[in-house]
Amino acid sequence: MSELRELTPGQLAWLKFRRHRLAMIAAGSLIFLYTIAIFCEFISPYTPEQRNSRAINAPPMDVRFFDAEGQFNFRPFVYDLELTINPDTWMREYEEDASTAYPIRFFTRGEPYEFWGLFEAERHLFSVDPNGPGYIHWFGTDSLGRDVFSRVLYGARVSLSIGVVGVGLTLFLGVLLGGFAGYLGGIFDSAVQRMTEVLQSIPTLPLWMALSAALPAAWSPITTYFGVTIILSLFGWTTLARQVRGRFLAMREEDFVVAARLIGANDQRVVFRHMLPSFSSHIITTATLAVPAMILGETALSFLGIGLRAPVVSWGVLLQQAQNYQVIVMTPWLLLPGAFIVVTVIAFNLLGDGLRDAADPYSSLRQQ
């Protein structure tokens, strides 16, 4: 009991958050995904543009521990794929060839890459013997023989970061405009209010399309990336600005804010020391819940072919390339990026729920 009295607000929030089992799982998954995205060059066995002409549209390969005789191998391995052309359909068909096994090796030398575009390296976390004839395509390959697993990892970096960068920008705009509107009131408030109303009443998708279409095709991938992020956040900030404004208005009358004014605190101090910290948890929650919308926005734009474009690899771009019905029948593994999007979006939503519950650490202490 006596420990409870010593808990800081942060610890109390953590205590509440930990009880949210699903949110904890979601947080774990997101940390996992973001770690992968950060180290994607190293973790992926190939680079995204590397082609394997011997495996075009190859299906995912099973990573095995037991060989054909049921013998356990400590080192995992994959079987070679044997290509046959179906004489009736003229389709490529692959079959596992149990006679040739390629053991998986760790920290192998492979295709050289530039980690974060900063320094060169050629070690990959895992692969098969680079000097041998073997290959490993855990998620299969696409029609150019590119490794889907590697491409999903590279895509994760772009898609996951666009969510965070976009929300960062949204937050900046929302808190700034909403905060000033709520605190200053008057004309500025009305102006911001009208602006959010106008922006919120425009259907998003057509406008996104119009703006994206205006992005010059000649822009470099990185500039396009920021262009798309800015377009996405230009429309995202309105909701947040409204919430921030509402909270500011309400909080201006709260006793502890009045108390701060009465001891002589100036506006700056009242806002930054008293008001903002009191709803930072609220802002974090809102931001978390806004990330999936950003990721989905990017996916939607790229899928329509007006967002990011090859050679940039994002989940949306990958899906765009899988955009025909043949894929679903013949090479369904090209849709795997979609599964990653679903998992990420669900995880963010669950995390947001957990944060929302934990955001008011006192709720359980003063219920009624």
């Binding site: 009295r5 709260e254 009045v258 108390a259 701060a260 001891i263 605190a265």
Partner: protein, 276 residues
């Protein structure tokens, strides 16, 4: 006894509705003035206008500071700052009036920082001294408000108000939210601080039993007007106004043999020419 505060013809309306209607009164140093009245009669609006937490529509609030008389509402924020040290407030809700994300040390230190008093070390000592004055353990300083009971929080609120050594302390229902036994402790504390520091209290309350015990003078408000003003003895033993009589008749006595016989509100107030 010198005069500390003088309010003349203070008016305030919200959205066209008059909430405080031309209120005037004076307050002497080291005395306690109680303000009573029913909910919505404008007590909070009145005291917050005096503190300039609300801008009144008209009227003057003059305050006799250590440097002489000031008209509080004609001062710029800069000129007001030194006066903030002299006029402080203790709030009603001990849960809402402390920033939940600050430790007690930070809460109590903030007024000193704002007014540029002392260095880090001396401020720490001052906080420790203040905690002792309001009978809180010195280990309280590192804790957060949620770790305290209602009565203890109210003590923190009192410490924050008193750390700037004010002369006038406004208490807006400062004990109403507390249980009787805690209420008694806090009132004891306020009384002993008054005799020690020579404080002047403006004490808003709706419990007449508390006012009778704690105040020297009473101001009775009814729908934005002051209907009666007098010493506690005068008001309680010889009420002049019908509304005051009604209030007094409604106090439930803790003696089961003294039966509660409230006067009839409607006829009384209509007789007095007040709107119900």
């Amino acid at each position: 006894m010198s005069q500390l505060l003088s309010v003349t013809d203070l008016c305030k309306s919200f959205a066209g509705e008059s909430v405080v209607k031309s209120v005037s009164f004076e307050l002497n140093e080291s005395s306690t003035l109680g303000i009573v009245g029913e909910s919505g009669s404008g007590k909070t609006t009145l005291v917050r206008s005096i503190l300039r937490a609300i801008e009144p529509d008209s009227g003057t609030v003059r305050y006799n500071s250590r440097e002489g008389w000031h008209d509080l509402h004609s001062l710029s924020p800069k000129e007001l700052l030194p006066l903030r040290r002299e006029i402080q407030m203790i709030f009603q809700d001990p849960f809402a009036s402390l920033n939940p994300r600050m430790t007690v040390q930070t809460i109590l230190e903030e007024p000193l920082i704002i007014h540029g008093i002392g260095d880090k070390e001396s401020r720490k000592q001052q906080v420790a001294k203040m905690l002792e004055k309001v009978q809180l353990d010195s280990s309280s300083a590192s804790r957060f408000p949620h770790a305290f009971s209602g009565g203890q929080r109210q003590r923190i609120g009192i410490a924050r108000a008193l750390i700037l050594e004010p002369r006038l302390v406004v208490c807006d229902e400062s004990v109403s939210a507390l249980d009787v036994s805690v209420q008694a402790q806090i009132l004891d504390l306020l009384a002993s601080l008054q005799s020690e520091l020579g404080l002047t209290y403006l004490f808003v309350a709706h419990d007449l039993r508390v006012v009778r015990e704690f105040c020297d003078d009473v101001l009775v408000m009814y729908s934005g007007n002051v209907v009666e003003r007098g010493s506690v003895e005068e008001i309680f033993n010889n009420p002049q106004h019908d509304y005051t009589r009604l209030l007094l008749s409604a106090i439930p006595s803790p003696d089961p043999d003294e039966k509660l016989q409230p006067l009839d509100r409607k006829s009384l107030l209509l007789d007095a020419g007040l709107t119900v």
